[in-house]
């Protein structure tokens, strides 16, 4: 292995380097200077995000355990942008809440370490590698969920997350052992065509699926979601809801479409059923939520149901639309969580009723919130509409009209509860509204990027064309 082929891991190598630098930087700065650590972290990450857009070779490493190609590196870039936005928006919270405990640097170190795990997860072409990287991506997040050590709810979230993650990875690993027994290999490529329709392989598939379904929070594996999102610090909930979920969706898609293609008759009905169940349960629970973080938790459960619908087609269109949708979903959810987090940090308010009269005191934030929610609901001309429409197209291309119909009914239900937030912020007035406050520059930059992207990704079709062009399922 020479340096040239090692550069296939450019994303991972630079990110590791970045983490190491941050470890040193965190020691150097103390006291009030701790603030600077966060600026350095964000600046370095922004630089790294830019570098990662440079063209990358395609190929495999470590005997085929690690693969990179255009599709994978594009998806990594999307995740990079998402994490960059989350870091930008989190600085405000860090400085207000945790600076006094001298806890700044480790937030970014843990965040980036988890992202590193996600990257290995996406690139892995071997089940053992998959398992190890899944753990690498999960463990830092559990620490992050318990980051606010003086809040009982945050500690509770950390414990809940690590317990459910431990159980799910146990099931996951058990499933992998079955698959190994059935197919005789752990490499994705070797398993193609050698899994067969034995009870062993089907049980393996189902347990493997259940393990990933925990990460994607599909019903009935969603029970941890609302509690953890509510208890964890908002930037961490944000990360869990977008980055963690997207990476898991991506690898689930690849394993199902490639490794388990033989078992398509087994996992198609599973996806179909879970899709309907996830959409309905997520939406119905979201209807009654007052706490906005729980609200968004159930909304993100419902969104996962839509993604499963898009995956049913199991062809190039499905891969392209799912990646496209996840990219849009990342921006929409970051926008919604971002506004909620800013408001929570500044005023401590977190309930829908607290947002009464929000537009009249903070018009810009209210607009960002409305656009993000409309994007989640799928209202044109905001990107979410295009994402959803293509998911329907993908499902309808295989004749799943009934499922599409159920999904659009669900969109209407979801529109109702998204409009409840809009109603509070725009329609109502309050004697005790959230007071006007000014945001720092980084928060504003983050939110502006979100809004611009929400319009751009949808209306500017070359982005979709690009995603469509890099997708090549057979080549995985």
């Amino acid at each position: 292995m020479d340096l040239n082929s090692l550069m296939l891991m450019r994303h991972e190598l630079i990110l590791t380097l970045l983490i190491l630098i941050l470890l040193i930087v965190d020691i150097v700065f103390t006291g009030e200077n701790k603030k600077k650590v966060s600026y350095i972290a964000v600046a370095l990450f922004a630089l790294y995000t830019l570098i990662s857009f440079l063209p990358l070779k395609e190929g495999t490493l470590f005997g085929g355990m690690f693969e990179t190609n255009k599709m994978i590196s594009s998806f990594k870039n999307i995740l990079n942008i998402g994490v960059l936005l989350i870091s930008l928006l989190s600085i405000n919270w860090l400085h207000n809440k945790t600076l006094k405990h001298q806890k700044v640097g480790e937030f970014f170190i843990l965040l980036f370490a988890s992202l590193l795990g996600m990257f290995f997860l996406i690139s892995s072409r071997n089940f053992l590698m998959l398992y190890v990287s899944l753990e690498l991506s999960t463990l830092p997040v559990t620490a992050l969920a318990a980051y606010d050590i003086y809040s009982r709810k945050s500690s509770e979230a950390g414990i809940k997350l690590i317990l459910s993650a431990a159980i799910s990875s146990g099931i996951f690993l058990f499933g992998i052992s079955f698959i190994y027994a059935a197919g005789g290999s752990l490499y994705f490529h070797d398993l193609v065509g050698s899994i067969g329709h034995s009870y062993l392989s089907i049980a393996g598939l189902i347990m493997f699926f259940a393990g990933l379904a925990f990460k994607i929070s599909l019903v009935p594996f969603h029970f941890w979601t609302a509690d953890v999102y509510e208890g964890a610090p908002t930037p961490v909930s944000n990360y869990l809801s977008v980055i963690s979920k997207s990476a898991a969706v991506f690898i689930l898609m690849i394993t199902l479409f490639v490794t388990f293609r033989e078992l398509i008759d087994i996992w198609t009905p599973i996806l179909y059923g879970l899709s309907i169940l996830t959409m309905f349960i997520g939406n119905f629970f979201a209807l009654r939520q007052q706490n906005l973080k729980r609200f968004l938790a159930f909304s993100s459960v419902a969104q996962a149901g839509f993604v499963m619908m898009g995956m049913l087609a199991a062809n190039q269109l499905a891969v392209a639309t799912v990646i496209y949708f996840m990219a849009i979903y990342i921006f929409s959810n970051i926008g919604a969580f971002g506004v909620i987090q800013v408001v929570e940090t500044k005023s401590g308010k977190l309930n829908i009723d607290d947002y009464n009269g929000f537009y009249r005191t903070n018009p810009n934030l209210a607009l960002v919130l409305m656009l993000s929610l409309f994007s989640l609901a799928g209202i044109p001309p905001i990107a979410g509409f295009f994402g959803k429409f293509f998911l329907y197209t993908s499902a309808a291309s295989k004749g799943y009209y009934l499922l599409v119909f159920i999904a659009v009914v669900n969109v209407t239900i979801s529109l109702y509860y998204y409009l409840l937030v809009v109603r509070a912020a725009f329609l109502r007035t309050s004697d005790n509204p959230i007071p006007y406050f000014k945001n720092d520059a980084l928060t504003r930059i983050g939110l502006i990027i979100v809004v611009v992207s929400l319009f751009l990704i949808g209306l500017y079709s070359p982005l979709y064309d690009y995603i469509n062009s890099v997708v090549n399922v057979l080549n995985i």
Partner: protein, 497 residues
């Protein structure tokens, strides 16, 4: 930039200008200038269109433009107009322009009010110029969603409830629409071509009859909900009653027309076999709407509810005309869309004028208003007379065409339907004259002895509407001619499939 895309671009520019303007005076001047430009452009469009036709251009659509949008799915930004759409665009411009005059004094969040109104209008324009189903659907939803804010923020009465009901019902309808559109899309390669969203490409293909029977109701109901088809009309009375004046005008005058237009241009045009198969079933629903709407209007005490149910009744006639499947009825249906747009806008404008002075919309609480505000009273009478189909106004021309078309069917089923529909005119006369008699005639209610006179901006807005109502009534052949010109392709496709 082509002449049609400007109709979407100018509203966007107006919105940008509004964002940077300060104070209500600047806001309304910017909004007004924006829509004067739009109105002039609409006149110019009609002129150019007639010019093009006179020059011998007999394409189905003129001023077409086609830009690839999402290549992997063959989605295009495809636009073009025919005679029906240019008239609808004119209608939209006039209604929004008069709506801006009527809302001259909006005091709460004026900037946001005008922005929402203009975003809505741009969606409507986009809908009328699209010939690609995807583009059309995008614009349809853009037109629906500002309604939530417009009713919710500036409305009266149970505004939150009405806004939510309206939005959820219309978005639910668009859910049906979406399934229908996808169904059409994935059958558009039935003749071996590529999948396409373009209406005219699809129309060249013979979609399998089974698929037509399956997907026609999706498209039909999807569009018909916004056209207030019974039993999906329930959003309309609540929505109209709670909405501010200009929004009621725009909604009843323009937005509800998307229904009839969409059914004609999309549902019936691309799926003629489905249309024939389902025509009788939907005709029954339409005639129930016509009759039930008129009867319900009699029972109402609130002026806006009366007019909302009247709209349900009159738009039922549009659907009925479309389902009659012949040229005259279609022409009548399109004329009715146009005529009802102007009439109902005038109605809602006058209700707004009266409510602004008396602060009540309950008919029984007012009496003898004609003595106090004669101009407003007279305008209300004009709206009423036009609505019940008095010759000389637009309503007569439109309904006459629909009924003549309907009577061309000699079988019992059509006869019964037609007679029921025609007799609704009598009921219409009852509820119109009842209001005129109770509210405008008689001794003046003591507390309304001193009402302020109708102001210049209200006059300007309403006079424009009266002008168009009379123009259609007096020169029906000019308007009908433009429509008849464009019905040819529909006859070819739907009647001889």
């Amino acid at each position: 930039m082509d002449i049609l895309t400007l109709f979407v671009v100018i509203p966007v520019l107006t919105v940008v200008a509004l964002v940077f303007s300060k104070g209500i005076k600047q806001h309304r001047v910017v909004a007004l200038i924006g829509f004067i430009i739009q109105t002039l452009m609409s006149f110019n469009l009609i002129y150019q269109y007639l010019h093009e036709r006179a020059a011998g251009n007999h394409d189905v659509m003129v001023f077409t433009k086609d830009v690839m949008w999402f290549a992997p799915m063959n989605i295009h930004y495809a636009i073009g107009v025919d005679g029906i759409s240019v008239l609808m665009i004119l209608l939209t411009s006039i209604i929004v322009l008069t709506g801006i005059f009527i809302s001259w004094k909006v005091d709460d969040l004026p900037k946001e009010f005008f922005i929402s109104l203009i975003v809505l209008a741009s969606g409507v324009y986009g809908f009328f110029i699209s010939v690609d189903l995807f583009t059309m659907f995008v614009f349809y939803e853009i037109a629906v969603i500002p309604m939530y804010l417009l009713i919710g923020i500036w409305g009266s009465g149970p505004r939150e409830y009405a806004a939510m009901k309206l939005t959820i019902m219309l978005m639910g309808a668009s859910a049906l629409l979406l399934v229908g559109i996808l169904g059409v899309y994935f059958n558009s390669n039935a003749d071996g071509g590529a999948l396409t969203f373009n209406i005219f490409e699809i129309a060249k293909v013979n979609i399998p009859v089974d698929a037509q029977k399956l997907f026609f109701p999706f498209l039909f109901i999807g569009f018909a909900v916004i056209g207030a088809l019974f039993p999906f009309h329930t959003w309309s009375p609540d929505g109209h009653a709670s909405a501010p004046t200009a929004v009621s005008m725009l909604h009843a005058g323009v937005l509800m027309k998307l229904g009839g237009y969409g059914i004609f241009r999309v549902a019936m045009y691309v799926m003629p076999a489905g249309a024939h198969y389902w025509a009788n079933f939907f005709m029954v629903l339409a005639v129930i709407g016509v009759f039930y709407g008129a009867l319900a209007a009699i029972k109402q005490k609130d002026l806006k509810y009366i007019n909302a149910y009247s709209s349900v009744s009159h738009l039922g006639l549009v659907l009925l005309g479309l389902l009659m499947m012949n040229e005259i009825a279609w022409k009548g249906a399109m004329l009715q869309s146009l005529s009802h747009g102007f009439i109902t806008a005038l109605f809602f404008a006058m209700i707004g004028v009266i409510y602004g002075r008396t602060h009540t919309r309950i008919v029984t609480k007012m009496s003898g208003l004609l003595n106090v505000i004669p101009v407003a009273g007279a305008l209300y009478v004009i709206a009423g007379m036009a609505n019940l189909g008095l010759p000389g106004f637009s309503g007569f021309v439109a309904e006459m065409n629909i009924f003549v078309g309907a009577f061309q069917h000699a079988d019992t089923f059509h006869r019964v339907i037609t007679i029921l529909a025609v007799s609704s005119i009598v009921v219409t006369a009852v509820y119109i004259l009842r209001v005129v008699g109770m509210m405008l005639m008689g001794p003046t209610t003591p507390e309304f002895k001193n009402l302020p006179k109708i102001s210049w901006y209200e006059k300007t807005g309403t006079y424009i509407l009266v002008l168009f109502i009379v123009l259609i009534g007096v020169f029906p052949f000019w308007w009908g001619g433009i429509i008849t010109d464009s019905i040819g392709p529909f006859i070819e496709k739907i009647l001889t499939f």
